[in-house]
Symmetry: C2
Subunit: 347 residues, 2 copies
């Protein structure tokens, strides 16, 4: 089946995904019977273009690599801003990969609402809209008979969400625990090598793991959002980031790390969600974990999640949690799942 | 949607699954819209009964717990042997959970062929038919427009197969490595505590982890079958158990284990599959792994698998690999996936 895609956001994630559909064109066709037709790209920096007869994805990548606007190199409807772009695009699937404002979820939230209301399937890697409007958006998608897939919002391409929804389908999840932020885990790992927090943070910034303003990571907002997303799926809850008890890693001293190591422990920023008699709870706090444990072995930018279940006990999934190609892979896996469901509809 | 199920095999796995559909009846209906109607059970020991107006699953469990034949407690068509049972059952889904002969795949292989040829969906936990006739059975299912799901064949309910097929959809897998046999891992863990191989094996037999004839486990046939199944999925191959280079753990001495520990290593029975220029390769052999690694932390009956991929690097999944409830959960997850696909057909 051919699926017509419109991309909103052509940054690291958008280009990571586009690179995959270029490289894997034949593989997707032969293995899954999936043909991707790119009918529009809309980006605040690289311009907006729609062409219902198709845009060559390699040409889009080449243009941006050369610093050229997409509007320079493609024919079609040009300059449409995102909401209008969604209306005009004639896409089956809108892929939302813009930057997130985690207070408002905008502009992604409006893009997703618009696309769903027009009866288009949506795939997003955008955490803000999903965590702030989980219930509203999943209900809206259901009422419109379309799919909303967002596996890239937690642990990037490592399939934490798909494992929860599909792999553990039918299980009751009692608790979720995770090392969900690679930047802070990298800093804590570097501190074990003897760097102070400030030195390790600077190193992470130099390597591109931490932003100039590192507060989303070191103050634990990012893992708070991710654990809320997982909790909302697992417990059918509607937690917002502010509902998550949150303590970052700024206060951790080199001597705390060394003292823990002497006792066979490592300090990790652990996100947890669970249910008790008073409802659904979530927190992100530094914890001491045994070196001799799965979490104790998660070093550098690696992420991990543990689902504690009724029938299977504790199930661990461990892998990378960030990167353009990794996030692109999350979108690709969502697209393949969507395609397999749509194939059933036309049987 | 209501799905009519016929169960073949009412041993540990069949009863584990049946127990789940009793306990989770309301949960399955409210969360997934799935209503399970049991229309037949066929077991070599407990008898065979078909009743298209439905069999009470709790009554079936109670009968067997009390040592009674199913034919004693239910009305309906009684005594049909498996192939005839499949024909008469009027089921949408045949769940095949019999004992495996790994040389022939029988009797499960004939059951699965029959059900698929009659246009019935099949869910199985039966490794033999899947490893011996992977290509044939998946092609047959496709040609009949029905689904063949077998996630319980590797790592039981821990979703190793669903992660490979769904979670990593779109990835190229370059290598698979796994600790896929809980019995041998339990024996090796006990040997670290100072037991000899013979003592540890006896302990595993007392606990019910090892059979009286332990050769399927200790001679590595079981993990050889499992790695062949994973390789066949990942690499679209058609490996048989005999194609897997195989070395078990009988030759491992206590002093080997101790010597490895002194060097910061543990001996694990590791299954591997990979592709190189001359084709698809697989082996199961004892390997020394670092204590400070994910595999090094897999102790007792726990299983683990690592998929080495192009876009995501190494992805680890760790959890239990055996047990009646765990295998029942694998069948349940398959059933929920099947149901979600069939729901699309009737939209």
């Amino acid at each position: 089946m051919e699926l017509k895609l419109a991309l909103i956001g052509f940054g690291v994630v958008g280009r990571g995904f586009t690179d995959l559909i270029v490289r894997k064109k034949d593989y997707l066709a032969s293995k899954y019977g999936l043909n991707v037709k790119l009918v529009g790209i809309c980006d605040i920096k690289w311009g907006s273009v729609i062409n219902t007869s198709g845009l060559d994805p390699l040409k889009a990548l080449t243009a941006v690599w050369a610093g050229k606007s997409l509007e320079e190199v493609f024919e079609g409807i040009k300059g449409a801003r995102a909401l209008e772009f969604i209306e005009l695009s004639d896409a089956d699937v809108v892929v939302e990969m813009t930057w997130t404002n985690i207070e408002t979820g905008e502009p992604g939230l409006s893009h997703i609402r618009k696309a769903l209301n027009l009866g288009k399937h949506v795939i997003t890697t955008n955490k803000g809209p999903i965590v702030l409007a989980y219930r509203e958006l999943t209900d809206l998608a259901r009422s419109k008979g379309v799919k909303l897939l967002f596996s890239g919002t937690v642990m990037s391409g490592t399939p934490s969400i798909r494992t929860l929804i599909r792999g553990l389908a039918g299980c009751y999840v009692n608790e979720i625990a995770g090392i969900l932020n690679g930047t802070t885990n990298y800093i804590l790992t570097k501190m074990e090598d003897g760097l102070t927090f400030e030195e390790a943070l600077r190193d992470a910034q130099l390597k591109g793991y931490a932003e100039a303003d590192p507060s989303m990571d070191v103050d634990a907002w990012d893992p708070a959002i991710k654990i809320a997303i997982l909790a909302n799926i697992a417990f059918d809850a509607d937690l917002k980031p502010k509902d998550v008890v949150r303590k970052g890693i700024r206060g951790i001293r080199l001597e705390d790390i060394k003292d823990a190591l002497r006792r066979g422990k490592r300090i990790k920023l652990v996100a947890r969600a669970w249910r008790d008699s008073s409802g659904i709870k979530a927190k992100v706090t530094p914890e001491e974990v045994d070196i001799n444990s799965f979490f104790g072995q998660v070093s550098g930018t690696t992420n991990a999640v543990m689902y504690s279940t009724d029938s299977l006990g504790d199930v661990y999934l461990i892998g990378r949690g960030a990167g353009g190609e990794e996030a692109g892979q999350a979108v690709l896996a969502d697209l393949i799942e969507l395609h397999s469901l749509l194939e059933e509809r036309i049987r």
